[in-house]
Symmetry: C2
Subunit: 366 residues, 2 copies
Amino acid sequence: MAPAIDVRKTATRLSDGRQLIYFDTTAQLGRGAPAPPDRRRLPTAPADCALRYDPLLAAWVMYAAHRQDRSYRPAAADCPLCPSAGGRQTEIPASDYEVVVFENRYPALTASRGPAARVGELLATRPSAGRCEVICFTSDHDASFADLGRDRVGLVTEALIDRTAELSALPGVAQVYCFENRGAEIGVTQPHPHGQIYAYPFVTPRTERMLRSGREYARRTGRNLFDDVVAAERAGGTRLVRTGRHWLAFVPHAARWPYELHCYPLRRVPDLASLRPAERAELADFQLDLLGRFRRLFATPAPYVCGWHQAPARTGRRGFALHLELFTLRRGDDKLKYLAGSESGMDAFANDIVPERAAERLRKLG
Amino acid sequence: MAPAIDVRKTATRLSDGRQLIYFDTTAQLGRGAPAPPDRRRLPTAPADCALRYDPLLAAWVMYAAHRQDRSYRPAAADCPLCPSAGGRQTEIPASDYEVVVFENRYPALTASRGPAARVGELLATRPSAGRCEVICFTSDHDASFADLGRDRVGLVTEALIDRTAELSALPGVAQVYCFENRGAEIGVTQPHPHGQIYAYPFVTPRTERMLRSGREYARRTGRNLFDDVVAAERAGGTRLVRTGRHWLAFVPHAARWPYELHCYPLRRVPDLASLRPAERAELADFQLDLLGRFRRLFATPAPYVCGWHQAPARTGRRGFALHLELFTLRRGDDKLKYLAGSESGMDAFANDIVPERAAERLRKLG
């Protein structure tokens, strides 16, 4: 699938060996070869990541001890995601950029070495595989995703498609997750507008459950579960927030979060790369609009998590439906939904806001 | 199983019809019949709870719109969990109490009426069943669980056993979960030392997963998964924090949280009611000790969730192992572990603190 916009990609390495890639739409930034060097002489990036298996919950947990010391909400003047300028060297050596992606300095996942887990081992540990990348949406420290222009949103999507393809091809990678955490209330350590890309060495528990539900539904009905959920939300209408020619956004029937939106293309596709140019173009409108509504929900912009659910890289691709999930844990101007005993201890969610009421509010904010 | 201590139980009703039960070890509090009345004339408690099914994640979500308006961290002088005194009427009409349990005024679960879900319905809604209760551990507003005496901890356990049995017998109840949330960082709305009891109308997703893992393990090995996990932690020893004659406490091999402790009786039992007097007695020591260590982890007491995992009320009881799970989301004096994109979006946990190091720290705090 050809990209909808012309993207110029320039790859380089930071001084500790991490990869950094500029994604530009113009030659204006003077991105020639070689790209500007990283003058910081960083020590080699740590790689003490490991995976451990929880036999009761049947899930892998990621360990990354070096992350404990990562910087936490630095002052704007020390922002590592701004361009390098005036002698100050940041993570991005260039003096300006459009969209840039680089390997996280404090990754939860790395390609590391070590003995493999033994077959049937009860308390299994294995070396990590995979990679964590950071994607900066703009060089403007004070902006947010909702401030981006349509073209920039399109460029971000092209960058995510590129990264999903490259990371999916890495040894041991099972699934690529592109997401943005926004807001201090959910623990964002860097306020500069950015997202993250996790290349997991396992299919995540959430995706595993969706795949299992889909298989069981297909066996019982002969139909695709995602298709039927989207059709039911579309037909019901009470939870719809925006409908387009190619996309649909709704508060799901059984939303877990005070305000939660799911956004599906009307044509089921497994991943971002499968979207056609017209679908990509309308997607940018949807993203800007939906994030704008979230910004206007409360007296101050709502903190949020916004993540792309794509089919796994190798198995379980058939029948999966690409979709975006956007939610906030804020339930009022000064009230948060906390994950306490029932949610954290039993995975049983209680929600104070009825989805139809949440949808009504979000519709009015359009 | 006879209780290890002599408990006097006095049940009454609050003015809106909710049940309240005093658990006393002495007659000193003058608990006669009738118990002191609630003079508040509260309106009838709301019951607009409902359950909705998420077909993708195969899980029920609880809705309770009335909870949105519940009081949030009232001033100590307005604490609804203190005894009634000096003309101020609280949730507890008596002028003093040892342990008291009452139905939550803002429950996430109630016995409510409405049409049942249709078989095979894709976006199913059904009336709620179940109940949410509050348990106050002491009338001392400023205490915490770790301050209780051994006898009081024993009385709390007897009260939980009583409530588990009564709630398990209610129509539609599938599982009873007794837990304590502690600390503002996890959203505790009332600082008065108290726990909660949720009688769910479904087996929780967490417990479902444990049961499935246990079934698959038994099929593969002919053995009990819980037994083998406890035996492996005991034999390995590197993550043990405390061992007793009847109980074992360890940081699990694949802990999700910065500091997490699991506490199992060495004799596998399905629930609290099955514990023998000697096991109940040692349990009190363990609880006070482990919570004391959590209090000393950081400059200020660690916020925590502490929950009893008991076998479901009706199905899946065979092979389940009662255990306590205690964890904090704090990872440093001023750092929290947030559930952001990977955890909230994909259920994929990353932990910065290696379990052996967490166990070492917790051992030293004994």
